[in-house]
Amino acid sequence: MRFDYLLIPTATALAAALLVACGGASSGVGSTPTSGLAVDGYLSGSKVVCDSNDNGVAGAGETTTYTDTRGNFTFPSGCKHGVIVSGGTSVDTGLAFVGQLRSPAGATMVTPLTTLIASGMTQTELNKALDLPTGTDLLTTDPAATNANGELKNPSLMKKTLAVQQLLQKTTELFVGLGSLVGSQATNTVYTEVAAAFAEQLKTGDALMNDTDGVSSDRVNTLVSAAVTRTSTASTVSSDIKTALASAGGATTIATVVKSALTSQAQEIMDGSNSADITAKTKDRQGNTSIVDTVKVAVASGEMGPSTSAEDADFLDRRLNTVAVKPTEAVAPTDYVYLDNNSIGFSADGVSATTYSVSDFQSSTSGIRIKWPMADSAALKLKLKANGSFTFAPNQKLSAAVRIQEKGGGSGEVRAFTDNVTVSKSGDDIILSVPDLPQALIYGVSGNAQTKAVIDFASKVKGITNTLSTASGAESTVMFGEVVNYGINGLSNQFAKMSEMRGKYLVTIVVNELPLRKADGSKFDFLSIDVPTTLSGGAPGSHIPVTGYGLVGYITLTD
């Protein structure tokens, strides 16, 4: 039997080059399907884990599924436990979801509010804290539901849901940013602690917000203060963050400095007049990093620290509040890596390299020309630089995916991904390592669309470790020729004609968790690649979405 493919090797190569490895699969815990909805705006492509050991942590062996483009998820074998949602994109704002939502067993909604319930509040307590009607079932009511006219059925619930997320997210980003950590591992850990602190505070006392007076800055102050205190002692939180929180002045100072800014941002969302306005304000506020950026500058300059007086803290609070609601970032971002001169080197022989700019790659007229078939030693040559200093939380994982689409009329397509690649930082080195049992798959469609396949190449990338250096003048090499040729030689019995591939291909690359930006600090496009992992008959079946920042460009295979 032979299956003719046109794109497999490139996908394999790029996937391997990106060190995408995967993991994930886990055991079912029920007998009937369990469905739900993840909402911070409907979340698309989010990872949903059935917390079968009820420890509030998404474990490697726990059953995993993903949300569709409307936030829906299903565990085909059921889930009798709480669920944990992370990653993905809000379909309303188009922004990456930041945080880790939870819901208790039996809930059909997973929202920032159910996260507070899963963190210890009762529905009655939360309804009171948010001035919601008594009896509102927060575990089953979809806050984003709309009527036939597209207007929210329960705008108050939606606004309060988003406002709570704003407080949780920005507090989390502040703590993680102060610690100069990047990646969802740190973010999710802190988010969980912040939510627990919020829940503990909101169980009693005055409401956080009400429909008449809006968001209470006093309550925000107590929430942030409690969050700093809890996070500073949580065993799960990186010591870098604990140290940074102390260096920033501790609970009282930090809460004082950010309370007005956080309140203003939440209130902006609460002031949304209709569905579109709420979405616009949410997008603006969630995407705004002014609080963390400004506080970091204040800490770095010594304006803010353990010795900051209450009066100085109040001054900083007022100053921060003036920038927290501006749509643009107040200060230039730091703590990221970038390609020197926005360029990529491609070496056909592993030694000499041709340099292409990112814009060359993105140009449909030029693109990157690659000799085909390539040598085993073919490699990417990357000159990475760092802006600021950052590190990763222990056990931080990343995913990467590549999508290659045939241009010029053919239907050939390849989507490849690996997941669960461990990423860490040591000095100037970013170390990527693939676990022993990764999940690494390729979904391919032949040029005539008559053949499709899912290929497992985990065995070829498992155990690989690669180091990317950001040291001055250092050049990092990502070998991929051998893997590509392995694909040609090893798989050509089934995927014939790969060596005959020629012409132009549209390439999309997504890598999440890496703080990779353009040289000027601006972000790459936020993209998502859905990689089918099964074929349901002839159609793609289940899939894994890989969402993150990435690039879209072109390659041309030549003789």
């Binding site: 039997m1 299956f3 003719d4 005539n448 008559q450 499709k452 396949a453 899912v454 065995s459």
Partner: protein, 362 residues
């Protein structure tokens, strides 16, 4: 019993005991099927061939086949009822188990017939009857563990669910009653066959990995059977380009037309009644035989059946019988559904069975 042993020996020596023609036992068709006493008849019987019975190793004397059927066991119940002076309706239900060494097939066969005598015999004019039949075979599934070589793949095993065939058949039968209870019968028939199936699946091996294949029409969906080595492997694959070279519907669910002609005689000797007959069968199948030809493989369109039966009347309305039937080309015109592009080669073999049973007239 000595006679019975003799019958067995005769067919064994002849080397080609076999199943009857198209519809069951058409080799003994007669225009006067009604019993001499009573208005109907009921028959129970068993057909058998096995290594023990095939003492002369006849089944291996095959032509163009290395996959002869190894053993056969069937039980049938059949009956007929007289309707007026010219009418006769009959039915037959047959359970068959066929093994070819690597594969077991279990079919249920059925037949219903209505026969009307157009003319009674006068002088040299034979009694003439028209019979119309519907008959067929079906099974829950058939599974072969023998490798099947297709143009694009070698299938290690093939499973077909709900395979079935249906036939409509018409026969014109003439019967001459001669002196001394001797009867000579001639028949000429024609009919149509149509095969169907529920689903086709198979297993194959690609680069050392085994795959389950499921066919939907000519599209194939394959899923790897783990474990599968330590390298890169295709986990799932779907292909509707026809690269396997399998035209599923035409290869296993063909349509066809057939004709048959037979001649048999019956004579009596005291309590003994003997029947001997010959049936020629010719089928024209759509597509499948052309596909076989394109692959330079043999196809079979003709079958010759010879049958001999001896019955002993214990009571006026009770007989014991034994018969032997031989086909030149195995079962292909009695179980059309068993014939497809992957099994056709097996129909190049001689095959025969022995049968025995009891017939009760009422």
């Amino acid at each position: 019993m000595a006679i019975l042993r003799r019958v067995i020996a005769i067919f064994a020596v002849g080397g080609w005991l076999g199943v009857a023609g198209a519809a069951p036992l058409d080799v003994f068709l007669t225009a006067t099927p009604e019993p001499s006493v009573g208005i109907g008849t009921l028959e129970l019987g068993v057909d058998r061939m096995s290594t023990e019975l095939d003492v002369f190793n006849l089944r291996n004397r095959t032509t163009n086949s290395t996959t002869a059927t190894q053993s056969y066991l069937a039980q049938h119940i059949s009956g007929g009822l007289k309707l007026g002076e010219q009418g006769w309706v009959s039915g037959n239900l047959n359970q068959r188990a066929i093994a070819d060494g690597a594969t077991d097939y279990r079919y249920t066969s059925w037949q219903i017939s209505g026969q009307y005598r157009l003319l009674e015999d006068q002088s040299w004019q034979p009694a003439t009857a028209l019979r119309v039949s519907a008959w067929g075979n079906f099974a829950d599934q058939t599974q072969s563990s023998k490798a099947v070589v297709m143009p694009g793949a070698v299938l290690n095993s093939v499973k077909i669910t709900r395979p079935a065939d249906q036939q409509l058949q018409a026969d014109l039968i003439g019967t001459w009653n001669l002196a001394g209870g001797t009867q000579v019968n001639a028949s000429l028939g024609a009919g149509t066959s149509e095969l169907s199936y529920g689903a086709l699946s198979a297993t194959t091996t690609i680069d050392g990995c085994n795959y389950n294949l499921a066919f939907t029409g000519n599209a194939v969906y394959g899923v790897v059977i783990l474990p599968c080595g330590t390298g890169i492997y295709v986990k799932e694959v779907y292909d509707n380009s026809g690269r396997l070279g399998i035209d599923v519907a035409n290869e296993i669910a063909w349509r066809g037309r057939f004709v048959q002609a037979g001649l048999n005689a019956r004579w009596q000797d005291g309590p003994w009644t003997w029947r001997a007959g010959y049936l020629f069968f010719l089928v024209q199948r759509e597509a499948v035989d052309a596909i076989l030809a394109s692959r330079k493989r043999a196809s079979y369109t003709q079958n010759h059946t010879i049958g001999l039966e001896a019955s002993y009347r214990l009571q006026p309305n009770l007989q014991l019988f034994a018969y032997g039937l031989m086909n030149s080309n195995s079962f292909f015109n009695e179980i059309p559904v068993a014939y497809n592009s992957s099994t056709a080669a097996r129909f190049g073999s001689l095959y025969s069975v022995l049968g025995a049973g009891v017939r009760f007239d009422f």
